[in-house]
Symmetry: C2
Subunit: 257 residues, 2 copies
């Protein structure tokens, strides 16, 4: 599947060819390489240059097992896991040392921290792929945010947002399908698509061989139901949403009044 | 200021040398270039490959003025603005067409959409810089999310997360300072830094010439107070936080029970 043409430059080809890696070789990531890609993360844009994020690196084998269990054993062969957190704690402590009050204990800064942590993580990922490393984002970080915060000894004001499994790839990887660009991009205002448009946009996804196999193996009627019934059912979603709001409150990001 | 050394490859140098651009040349961004960098955005990782985001492109001069006013006139010379939104609407419509229920109307999916929109945006930015374009993230998108949603005709299930001002740079840009890597990165567990550590981490920032000038021009005692008293005062933060939670509720991301 061609995801780029001759007009893409080398950087754009790297971005366009991204594949998630879930199986990793038995090869360590040396500290110099790791710190180089982390430096690239820190150069990403961030709100007010306040850098309200932290990265917790897990490399110890026993800790990888404990953290891995909170991610349901996904990507268990990764030699490194990075947990990128929204972090107002460091900033607040500096403010207090300078006689300025605590200001950033509210939802705006949780959300700003989430966005900044994400931009930092994506720069780390682009740098990692440029080094021949592979990675996978583990969305499960949001399912077990409180337990992960406890394991990593996160203080108040720090909450996990993103986990990356990182290492050198093992075996084949496949390029995922994406919606056509015109499904996602709107010009000047949000376009009111017809039902036929929505069906056309999703057709390639429904016909993608991997997706067809998943539908068959799970014994569901169609791809949409694979998601709503098996992968992300509504009761689980809502329970996770409530737990997440509790965690955000616990970690001190909900003083909005 | 050296932000990279000989061990950085070409991609890492591009990332490490990022500078925000706030003044733009009178040169249009042609559609082929724009769509190429948007394609790179879409190749970023996203939750479950559900692509729960949309990008609204603003290029029309009158619309740029209206949208620019909601961003307080920042980056007024940009020929393009991109508003990246969390979007469950497209997915829900497809699910309904396939007889699957609405599942993603809760906070977990707002947050997943925010993260995925951010990863997409950062890939767009990396691709943009590789093309010689410049950009600036406008955090003000969170201040006026409801008004921006109305201007862009966002339906329920779609909420603005990120705005990028985009175009060819005009004039000089400067590389911002960052905290030392060891301030942001923690190994194995979150480190309990001493007050002296916090002061050391922030010293370079306090001594950075641009920051010293800002402190002087604003007549505040120190850099921390520039942020807590002038740029992001607590009452404004809390009011924005409440408005944001209202907007998330309005746009249908808070059905958590």
């Amino acid at each position: 599947m061609a995801v780029f043409n001759d007009t893409f430059n080398a950087t754009e080809r790297l971005l366009a060819e991204h594949r998630s890696v879930r199986r990793f070789a038995e090869r360590e990531v040396d500290l110099a390489t790791l710190e180089r890609i982390l430096e690239c993360g820190m150069r990403a844009s961030n709100t007010g240059n306040m850098q309200m994020y932290s990265v917790v690196v897990t490399r110890d084998k026993e800790r990888l097992k404990s953290l891995g269990a909170l991610h349901y054993g996904q990507c268990a062969t990764a030699p490194v896991m990075l947990t990128v957190c929204a972090d107002v704690e460091r900033y607040h402590r500096w403010c207090q040392l300078r006689g300025a009050g605590v200001c950033y204990d509210n939802f705006l800064w949780y959300l700003s921290g989430v966005i900044d942590a994400s931009l930092c993580a994506q720069n780390i990922c682009v740098a990692a792929e440029s080094e021949g490393l592979g990675f996978c984002y583990l969305g499960t970080v949001l399912y077990n945010a409180k337990a992960i915060a406890e394991l990593l000894k996160l203080p108040k004001g720090v909450s996990p947002v993103i986990t990356l499994a990182l290492g050198y790839p093992e075996g084949e990887t496949t390029l995922s399908e994406r919606l056509p660009l015109d499904a996602v991009v709107h010009y000047e205002e949000y376009r009111a698509d017809s039902d036929a448009d929505i069906e056309r946009q999703h057709r390639m996804r429904e016909e993608f061989p991997f997706n067809r196999r998943m539908v068959e193996e799970n014994g569901v009627e169609n791809l949409a139901k694979l998601f709503t019934e098996k992968r992300y059912p509504v009761d689980a979603n809502r329970a996770i949403s409530r737990a997440l709001l509790d965690e955000i409150t616990r970690s001190g990001f909900m003083n909005n009044e």
